[in-house]
């Protein structure tokens, strides 16, 4: 499992593009928002938590089809399927690698981009916390979507259509934590719900992803 994780991480870093692309996309989305809604500080600081969350979500979405598609094309997914590692383990590792290469950098970059959106001071901590808690769910749900569409020629658009509705609860609770944090309100309830969704998705969805992947490799 660790070998697979290391391999995925190295591929992501070395293959060129895969690693920094999500981050760059996050930056561009955040930069574009003030152009769209105008530069007033008050408005920006009010929508900053939501914009950061949507940017992170889109950046996650962008890199989903790379989770499995490359391995599917060169056949290494078939090799992995015949390996002693159970399929559930493979998809979990894939999701973990995706989180480390996409989710984690987003979490770390969020405060810097918060400056651009004049996020209130109280908000930084909670934006980081909510993204740190919520992005694993995004990665795991995204892996499920990637497993569903792995065999398709033009799966990219379909992948978005399938995955975005599944992202709704995570986005609602994540953005709520960030928003309440930025406004100095109590964040406990949405944070617990967000953590519940994250843990639930991490615990249960790999089984669904593995079942789907087995069907696709049949």
């Amino acid at each position: 499992m660790i070998a697979l994780l290391m391999r995925d991480l190295q591929l992501a870093v070395r293959a060129g593009g895969g690693f920094g692309l999500g981050l760059a996309f996050f930056l561009i989305v955040t930069v574009l928002v003030p152009f769209g809604v105008g530069p007033e500080t008050g408005l920006l600081s009010r929508i900053a938590p939501g914009v950061l969350w949507i940017g992170a979500l889109l950046a996650c979405l962008l890199s989903l089809d790379r989770i499995l598609a490359l391995d599917w094309e060169d056949g290494s997914l078939d090799l992995l399927a015949t390996a002693p590692l159970p399929m559930e383990g493979i998809v979990s590792v894939k999701a973990l690698a995706h989180w480390i290469t996409t989710g984690l950098p987003l979490v770390l970059a969020a405060p810097a981009l918060g400056v651009l959106l004049s996020l209130p001071v109280e908000g930084y901590l909670w934006v980081v916390v909510s993204l740190a808690v919520g992005t694993p769910a995004l990665s795991v749900i995204g892996t499920f979507g990637a497993a569903l569409t792995v065999g398709l020629k033009r799966g990219g658009l379909l992948l978005s259509l399938l995955v975005l509705p599944l992202y709704v609860p995570t986005l609602i609770f994540g953005a709520e934590v960030a928003r309440r944090g930025a406004e100095g309100l109590a964040v406990q309830t949405p944070l617990l719900m967000l953590a519940g969704i994250s843990f639930g998705a991490v615990a249960l969805l790999p089984f669904a992803s593995a079942a789907v992947l087995r069907v696709n490799l049949r």
């Binding site: 569903l148 398709l152 399938l162 509705p165 609860p169 709520e176 309830t189 789907v212 696709n216």
Partner: protein, 242 residues
Amino acid sequence: MSIWEYANPVKFIRTTDKLMPWLSVAAIVCLVGGLIWGFFFTPDDYRQGSTVKIIYLHVPSALMAINAWLMMLLASLIWIVRRHHVSALAARAAAPVGATMTVIALATGAIWGQPMWGTWWAWDPRLTSFLILFLFYLGYMALWSAIENDDTAADLTSILCLVGSVFALLSRYAVNFWNQGLHQGASLSLDAEENVADVFWFPLLVCIAGFVLLFIALVFLRTQTEIRARRARALLARERST
């Protein structure tokens, strides 16, 4: 004699062929009767005026939008457990009907909302969760049409239906939470069982029965079509190979 006999496509088609005329006629009678009764022979509401009559389209379609998804969930489970092709095809057949019901519910809701709330759309929990349900229908149908192999498509969509059900339910409650957190919801707590007087309630029941019958008839029809199309494809393939 068990219900699984109807998993045999031939038996299914033979039985539904016999049922179809009855179902269709009953659906038409209920719908036409219920709507005419509702539109012309019930009094106007003392506050809402005649706009209340859109309830006869709105409530049944909203009901069927959710029940269609439940039926797809059940059919998907049967497909996963017992692998009856008719069940997978029935789930596939129900999806566009359910999506249409969702659109009808949303559209009539908007038309009703305009005079009542002064807005076509509000980010009310119920409205929002119906929109999300519609997105789920779209994704489900898109996945069916994207995959060429029928069995693979049936497997993948049934798993998507199961996972989607969980997330749709989650969204329903998340949306409730989100709206309370953001702003006061529009006052849409029209719980029909409590608020509606008998004079509106009975035609509404007839309309609901009509929508249920219509849904069953449409799903039967579409499932038959799918079975026949698949049979035609199999025959063509056999002809080509010889």
